[in-house]
């Protein structure tokens, strides 16, 4: 993704924020965050074949870390950002090393347990995590003298999204991506060809989880609130839905899935009232039956 396209996309996506009303801007930027998460999750799940439910927990770890660092431990902003990323990477690594030895649904179960454990820790965290009420009453300190809020903060989110996208596309196209795919499709053959299967898995898990953590750090200042219900388990399933409905293994698929499934409740709710979740479920099943490899297949003329 060359610089011109990057700059152009940035201007278009960030510029749109300034044209939207307050409400639409809020929905837009939350959608962009979900797209960022979906892209990372797609790499982990679609390209590397690891079924993990911990992605959203890392989102939470990033969010809580930055808030705790900035407002409980009073660390200055630049250091807090660096430390936040370091914490996410460290936790991701600590989880990745044992977790990636597990196959298929064992990994799924372990990461499911991890996600639940994360919420328990948040709830029992007392003063540090704010317990069940979470942390609020904070504000992003001015960056270089600018007070970022509203549409200008959306620009930050756009930058995050594009940065994540660029990084993942780079990785995907490099030997790393090829190695991941080899490990996903046939670990024994990959090992026979000299790929260090364990290392690749750990690296993929760590990188994508750390990216989720960074997204979380950005999220913390969207509503200036972090609490346990935001990072609950249902979100992990929703993320999985997004990636599979969109088309696992392809970046465009993750984008399509995330945009569709995030916006769907907002569109459905005024139309069908409190049946909107039911309609959502029906639509998701229909989408999968119609296009098991993901809706992105529609755009390729394949069926």
């Amino acid at each position: 993704m060359n610089l011109v396209r990057f700059a152009g996309s940035f201007l278009v996506l960030a510029g749109a924020a300034f044209l939207l009303s307050d409400y639409h801007n809020d929905v837009y930027r939350k959608m962009l965050l979900w797209v960022t998460l979906a892209l990372g999750y797609n790499f982990l799940f679609g390209v590397c074949g690891q079924v993990a439910f911990s992605h959203f927990a890392f989102y939470g770890i990033g969010a809580y870390s930055v808030v705790i660092l900035l407002f409980q431990l009073h660390v200055p902003l630049p250091l807090a950002m660096v430390l936040g990323v370091a914490i996410c990477a460290a936790v991701a690594l600590a989880v990745a090393i044992p977790a990636t030895r597990l196959e298929g649904f064992y990994l799924a179960l372990a990461t499911l347990a991890l996600a639940q454990l994360f919420v328990v820790v948040l709830n029992e965290g007392g003063e540090l995590t704010g317990g069940t009420g979470g942390l609020a009453n904070y504000r992003l300190p001015p960056v270089f003298g600018w007070s970022l809020g509203g549409p200008s903060y959306t620009a930050v989110i756009v930058a995050l999204l594009l940065g994540t996208y660029a990084l993942l596309v780079r990785l995907d196209r490099s030997w790393f991506g090829r190695a991941c795919r080899a490990v996903r499709d046939n670990p024994e053959a990959a090992a026979a060809m000299g790929v260090d299967v364990a290392r690749i898995r750990v690296a993929a898990f760590t990188v994508t989880s750390a990216l989720a953590g960074v997204a979380g750090m950005v999220y913390a200042f969207v509503d200036n609130t972090v609490n346990p219900p935001i990072f609950g388990l249902e979100n992990a399933f929703l993320l999985l839905f997004m990636v599979i409905v969109g088309g696992a293994g392809r970046h465009a698929g993750a984008i399509v899935g995330a945009v569709l499934l995030f916006l769907l409740p907002f569109v459905l709710s005024p139309l069908v009232g409190h049946h909107h979740v039911l309609v959502f479920g029906v639509l998701v099943v229909a989408a999968i039956l119609f296009q098991p490899k993901g809706l992105i297949g529609l755009f390729n003329g394949r069926s």
Binding site: L102, Y106, L117, V120, E124, H275, L278, G281, V284, I288
Partner: protein, 281 residues
């Protein structure tokens, strides 16, 4: 000491429920390789069915129980027909089916949620509150015994095993893959519905009961090992005992006690991920 005995009986009953849910997973997983997270919602349908037939219309217990299980079997068969078979026949990846079933989970939960009032609803006991635990244990043992006999001693059961081992070979040997699939879903749904019916007199029938049961059942499945039917029950019992003994005896504050089974599970997975009972083959 008396505490421990009481607790042991209670934990056994809880473990039996988890074991039934794990069995529901197993019945579908073995022949098709599909993990069906919707078992929790099937259990919930069983619970609501129990409420409707037994509480509201006051059918005799045995009739109500049989009707609920039969309805669930039909529901499982229907799910397979609509959400799974089209995918399998088009050669879609297993994960697509898993996801379609997650969609079914949502649909089932919402269908129940909009059809009943939002509060938890009562479901009557078979023989009274004091005997429910023994009833659960008895029914579970009967179901597992039946399952064991089915898989080990009947031709139909052997065909399930054959499909689990090698789909193509089984098809070449003349085993009807579609029938096996349909039966496995019907059976899984029936067992799950039974679990829901058994546990709901205690926990009440409510629309959020599905997901926790699904997770607990899945945990039991993995702990016990997916190779053998007995593994499901063993896994369920271990999980229940770990949960309840921790709460009762561990000297840690109540809030943290919920985290211990999760930690236990993670440790277990890291050190012995294939489950406790190894597959026969």
């Amino acid at each position: 000491m008396q505490d421990l005995l009481e607790l042991a009986v209670g934990a056994t009953a809880s473990g039996c429920v988890y074991g039934l849910v794990a069995l529901a997973y197993l019945l579908v997983l073995r022949p098709t390789g599909i993990i069906n997270f919707a078992v929790g919602e099937w259990a919930m349908v069983g619970a609501f069915g129990g409420h409707l037939l037994l509480s509201r219309y006051e059918w005799p217990y045995a009739a109500g129980m049989a009707a609920v299980v039969a309805f669930l079997c039909a529901l499982g068969w229907l799910t397979e027909r609509i959400a799974v078979r089209p995918l399998v026949e088009r050669g879609a990846p297993v994960l697509a089916a898993v996801l379609a079933l997650l969609g079914v989970l949502v649909i089932t939960r919402e269908a129940i949620s909009v059809s009943f009032p939002p509060d938890p609803l009562p479901v009557p006991y078979a023989f009274g509150i004091q005997y429910q635990k023994y009833f659960i244990i008895g029914v579970t043992l009967a179901v597992f015994a039946a399952a064991w006999v089915f898989f080990e001693r009947t031709v139909a059961g052997r065909s399930f095993e054959a499909v689990a081992l090698n789909r193509r070979a089984a098809a070449l040997m003349g085993i009807d893959l579609r029938r096996v699939s349909a039966l496995s879903f019907a059976g899984g749904a029936g067992v799950a519905g039974l679990a829901g019916l058994l546990v709901s007199p205690n926990v009440s029938a409510h629309y959020l009961m599905g997901v926790p049961l699904a997770i607990q059942g899945f945990t039991a499945l993995v702990v016990g090992g997916v190779g053998r039917v007995e593994g499901a029950l063993l896994g369920g019992l271990l999980l229940a005992f770990a949960e309840q003994l921790t709460i009762r005896y561990a000297p840690i504050p109540g809030g943290y006690a919920q985290g211990v089974p999760l930690l236990f599970l993670i440790m277990f997975l890291v050190f012995k991920p294939t489950g406790l009972l190894r597959s026969r083959i």
